[in-house]
Amino acid sequence: MSGHHHDHDHHHDHSELSETELRVRALETILTEKGYVDPAALGLLIDTYETRVGPRNGARVVARAWSDPAFHARLVTDATPAISELGYAGRQGEHIVAVENTPALHNMVVCTLCSCYPWPVLGLPPVWYKSAPYRSKAVKDPRGVLRDFGFELPDGTEIRVWDSTAEIRYLVLPMRPAGTEGWSEERLADLVTRDSMIGTGLPKQPHEVA
């Protein structure tokens, strides 16, 4: 399962794509004409995940946890109701567990068997998350994965990888960057990258969003 088209022969891949395109179009026609699907509902589904549900939701959750100790406590104890306080809930986020990074422990999330990912807080997963290299390597050589993302964990840091094999979805709570004392939640949320909530990245530093 490549997902990345540039590692195949271009001509071959192009014709394969066209075939897929035609097949999807035909299937949608059949399903619509049979009355199984409503094109307006399809449009809403696409719009929801393309423009409304994405990692900004998770960033708001993290920023609140950084700002509000009571919320932080609720989040790490039982994340699903805590996250729903911000209005994020539902499909592929029915049972969420938040796992917190510390100076001694770095958490990383993967789904080796398919592509399980906490949709309500992060949106749909990126191509690399669903790719064979990530799914195979994350559980065996997570430091190597982090190097692929361009950073090196300090030697003494333990790495904990969470393989999402059931319907529990994991959200990494990254460490709050130094130098952000007194920042508003909205400003803190600008530091929280999508990858920092999967564990393949770190939050931005204050000077990066100045």
Partner: protein, 219 residues
């Protein structure tokens, strides 16, 4: 099943490739494939475990040769063909050739938000006490069912520690085959990196899976 989808620890050359800009969808057909897959869940009546099995249950070369949404599409076609919602000749012709099969409900625009918000919670009331508690030493069973399972190959036969008790959840091995939800206790089981990968493993690595009670035995 022991399929190509079970990728944990498989030697796979090449780095993870983060992508600049990362569009949510890379082509219009991906948008359509995503949406019809979600929308057909309602008239189709299958569950998430049936969907996963329909995607993964194919020869490795076929699975590895398809992009993500091509796999979704292949899975969706199989689920619909199995239930007679569409027929092969219709897919080939690209138009309906047979009468629609009556379905209980379809997804309307007004129903989208509620359907997504409801999701599909899998926790069920417990009918018996949990067999394991946090701190228990357990072994992941050496099983190779030809049917759907969510116990990844790389932990089978290895010893770990129950870290969390997650409640009673729908059992995918049963649910995927249509044999019912058969809820089972679910645990986060944590393995030391060296237990899974040998002495060469990063000594600071721990890996956990979420495993249902039938996957585990006490040691």
């Amino acid at each position: 099943m022991d399929g190509a989808h079970d990728m944990g620890g498989v030697a796979w050359s090449g780095p993870v490739l983060p992508e600049p800009n990362e569009p949510v969808f890379h082509a219009e057909w991906e948008r359509r494939a995503f949406a019809i897959t979600l929308a057909m869940g309602m008239p189709g009546g299958w569950n998430i475990d049936m969907s996963r099995f329909a995607r993964e249950n194919r020869p490795p070369a076929e699975y590895l040769g398809m992009s993500y949404y091509q796999i979704w599409l292949a899975g969706l076609e199989r689920l619909m063909l199995e239930r007679g919602l569409v027929a092969t000749d219709e897919i080939e012709a690209g138009k309906p050739l047979h009468a629609a099969k009556p379905v209980a409900k379809t997804l309307t625009p007004n129903g989208v938000a509620a359907m997504l918000h409801r999701g599909g919670p899998t926790e069920r009331g417990a009918t018996r006490p949990a067999g394991f508690a946090a701190g228990d030493c357990v072994r992941a069973k050496m099983i190779h069912p030809p049917t759907h399972t969510r116990l990844p190959g790389y932990v089978r036969g290895h010893d770990g520690i129950v870290e969390r008790v997650l409640g009673c959840h729908v059992f995918p091995d049963s649910n995927a085959s249509g044999a019912g939800e058969d809820p089972q206790w679910l645990y986060t089981v944590t393995f030391d990196g060296r237990e899974l990968w040998g002495e060469a493993s990063d000594p600071g690595l721990k890996v956990s899976v979420d495993a249902w009670e039938p996957y585990l035995e006490r040691i």
